[in-house]
Symmetry: none
Subunit: 218 residues, 4 copies
Amino acid sequence: MSEDDTRHRILLAAGEAFAETGLHGTTVREICRRADANTAAVNYHFRDKENLYRESIMYAHSAKVTQFPMPDLAERSSAEDRLFAFVLTMAKRLLGTAEMTWQTSLLFREMFQPTGVCRELVEDFIRPHFKMLKGILVELAPRELSPIELHQAVFSVIGQVHFYKMNRPVTEMLVSEEMLDQLFQPEEIARHVTQFTVAAIQQSDKSDLELPNPSRLS
Amino acid sequence: MSEDDTRHRILLAAGEAFAETGLHGTTVREICRRADANTAAVNYHFRDKENLYRESIMYAHSAKVTQFPMPDLAERSSAEDRLFAFVLTMAKRLLGTAEMTWQTSLLFREMFQPTGVCRELVEDFIRPHFKMLKGILVELAPRELSPIELHQAVFSVIGQVHFYKMNRPVTEMLVSEEMLDQLFQPEEIARHVTQFTVAAIQQSDKSDLELPNPSRLS
Amino acid sequence: MSEDDTRHRILLAAGEAFAETGLHGTTVREICRRADANTAAVNYHFRDKENLYRESIMYAHSAKVTQFPMPDLAERSSAEDRLFAFVLTMAKRLLGTAEMTWQTSLLFREMFQPTGVCRELVEDFIRPHFKMLKGILVELAPRELSPIELHQAVFSVIGQVHFYKMNRPVTEMLVSEEMLDQLFQPEEIARHVTQFTVAAIQQSDKSDLELPNPSRLS
Amino acid sequence: MSEDDTRHRILLAAGEAFAETGLHGTTVREICRRADANTAAVNYHFRDKENLYRESIMYAHSAKVTQFPMPDLAERSSAEDRLFAFVLTMAKRLLGTAEMTWQTSLLFREMFQPTGVCRELVEDFIRPHFKMLKGILVELAPRELSPIELHQAVFSVIGQVHFYKMNRPVTEMLVSEEMLDQLFQPEEIARHVTQFTVAAIQQSDKSDLELPNPSRLS
DNA sequence: AATGAATGAGCCTTCATTCAT
DNA sequence: GATGAATGAAGGCTCATTCAT
C-alpha cells in the first residue's frame, strides 16, 4: 500500500518531468524530489531510469485512454457522427483538461523519436484506432477510394488534430489570446476538422485538380 | 580557412546529433568526435554548448530555406497553383532529400518545446509564411471567412503537411513499405493536401453540418 | 560512523592541502587522494570546494583553540604574568607541535587576504582576544594611554609574535640552525616578547623621543 | 621598444593580479587582458607562467627599493635616528602610496611560502638589511647583547612593522575608521616602533623578569 | 521493504601552452 | 617579432546507481 503509493507517486512525477524536459533532461533526483521519495526509490521500484521512462509512457497513455474512452461508435447513426465522435475523443485526449497535458506531450516525444516503447503502443492502441478511422472514412466517401487515397485521408484527419498539440507554443506567438482560447477548444476542433474532412471527401468523386507540372518549382 | 572549416564541421555534426538526441542527450564529446575536432573546440568557437545548440538551429533553418526557396507565387495564375507551390515547398523542406532530414527534426524539437531560439525563427520566417498562406486561402474561399475560420483552415493545411514529418516512424509500423514510398513523396503530399484543402474550402458556403449535441460523448 | 570518518578525513586532508597551496592551488582530486576518498566525496559531504575551504578554516581554528586553550588569566597575580600567559598561548597556537602547523598557516592565508570566512572568526575569537590583550596592557601601563597608544602597543605585541609564524622560511636562510631551535621555542618567544613589551610600556611615562624631522628621508 | 613596452605592461599587470589572487588564482588570460596584450604574449616574453611569476616578484621588489631607497644612515648622528630612518623606509615600502601596495603583497605571499624566488631576494636584499638593523641595535643597547638576544630584538622590530602590512583587513574589522588612518601612517608607525624599541632595549640591562614557571600553563 | 551514504563514470568547461602564419 | 587559432590535459561538479543496513 505505502509501497504502491510511493511507486505511483514516482510514476506521476516522472511523467510530468519527462514531458517537460525529456529523458535526458530529467534527473532521477528531480523526479524523486517531486515525488517526495528517496533517491534510491527509482532504482528500487523501477530498476532503471530508462525503464521508468518506458513505464511512465505506458501509464501516460492508459491514463488518457481511461480518462477519455472512445465512445461506442456503433450506436451512432451516420458516418459523420462517428467521425465527429472519433475526432472529439482524440482532441480531448491531446489537449485534455488544462494542467493534465503532460501525458500527451510525453507520447508525442516518443512518437517522434521512438525509443522502443512506441512499438507496443502502436500494436495495442494505435493500429485499432487507425483501422477504426479508415472504416469511418470508407463509409463517408461517395466512391470507393484506392488504398493510397484512403491512407491520405486518414493522415489528413490525424494531421489536422495533431496540429493543435504540436504547435501550441508557436501559435501563441502568432494569434491573439482571445482567439487562442476559442481555437483550442476540443469541441471546436472536432467540429472544424469533421466539417473540413467531410467536405473534402465528399468532393472526391469530382475530377482531379489540374495542377501545373511540378517539375520546376523548387 | 581551416578556421571556418572546423567551425562549420562542428555546426553540421552538432545539428545531426542534436536532432537525434536533443540538447541534453547529446554530449559535446560526441559532437566533436563526429566533427573530428578537439573537445575544446565547441567552447572555443561557440562559447557554450547551449549557444552551439542555438546556432545549429538557426543554421538548420537557413540551410533548408536556401535549399528549397519559396518560389515567386505572384507569377502563378490561380490560387490553387499558389497553394500547391506553397505546400510543395513546405513538404520538400520537411522531408528533404533522404539523409538530410536532421534539420527539420531539430526544428520540430524546438517548435514543440521552445527554448527561446524559436521566437526568433517565428518572427523572421514563420510569421511571413503564415500570412502568405492566409492570403492564398482567402482567395480560395468562395465567401469571406471569419478570422476563426481562416485560422482553422490555415491550421488544417499545416497540420496535414506536418503529419508526414511527425509520424514517419509510427506510419512505418502501420503501412506496407511500397505504399510508404509513394505516400511520402513531396509531390504526392502536395497534390493530395492541395486537392483535399481546395475541396474542403470550396464547400464552405454550404450550410454547416448538423452535428449531434456534443454534450455527452466522452 | 564510517560517515563521519570519511568526512573528517577529508577535512584534515583539505586543511593540510589548502595550507600548502591555497584555495586555487589545491585540487579536489588531490584532497581526496590524500584522504583516500572518492572524488565525489567532497561534493557529497561539503557541497562545494569553496565550502570545504570555509569549513576547513573553521575547523583549523577550533582545533588550535581546543589544543591550546587560553588559561584563566583572572587567577594570575600580576599583569606581567597575565601577559606572559597570553603570549605563550598565542605562540603555542601559532607554532604548535612540529607537524601540526598547517592550521595556522591556513589561518594566516585567510587573514592576509580574507575570503569572507575571516569575518566570522574575527567576531567570534579575535575580537575577544583583542580586548583581553588591551585590558592587560592598560594595567601594565604606568599612566593612562591614549586609544591610539593603546592600539599601537597591542599591535606591537601581536606583531612580535606573528613574526615567528610568518618568517620561519626566511629566517632559516639567515640564522644558524642551532640558534633557530632556541629562537622558535614558544616559551622563549613568550619570555622575550613579554620582557620586551613590559620594558617598553613601563618607559612610556618618559618624555617622547625627539626625532629628526621626517620630512625628507625617503 | 614596442616589444619592451608590451613586456613591461605584462609585468605590471601580472604583479597586480598575482598580488590579488596568487599564482594559482590568476589566469594568463586575465593578465593579458589587463595588459591589453595577446594571450600568447606571456609565453612569448616570459616562456612560462611560473617564470613570469618569478620575474614579477623580482620586479616588485626592485620597484619598491627604487621608489623608497634606504637613506644613507652613516650621516645620521644617533642610533635612534638611524633606527627611525630604517623603520620609516621599511614602513613606506610596505604600505607605500595608496594603490601601489601590490608589490609588497606579492612579496609577502612569497616570503610566507617561498617558491624559490625568495632565496635570491634574501641574499641580495634581505640579508644586508638584516645586518644593518643588527648594527643599529647593537649600538642602541646599553650592554653587549648575546646573539640570541640580538636576533630577538631584530625580530621584534621587523615583526612590529610587518603587522601593519599583514593585518590591515582584520584591523579594519576591529578599529574605527578614523583611528585606522592615523595608525597606518608610515611616519606614525616609524615613530611608535622606534620609541617602543628604544625603550625596550635600553631597559635590557635591568634584571630579567621573574616569570612563573611556564610548565603548566597550557 | 526501503533508505541514506557513498561512488565511478562522465559531464561541460577552462587552462596554459603551442604552432602556423 | 608577434599573434590568432587551436588543443591536450585537467578542473570542479553532477549523474544514475549500488550497497549495507
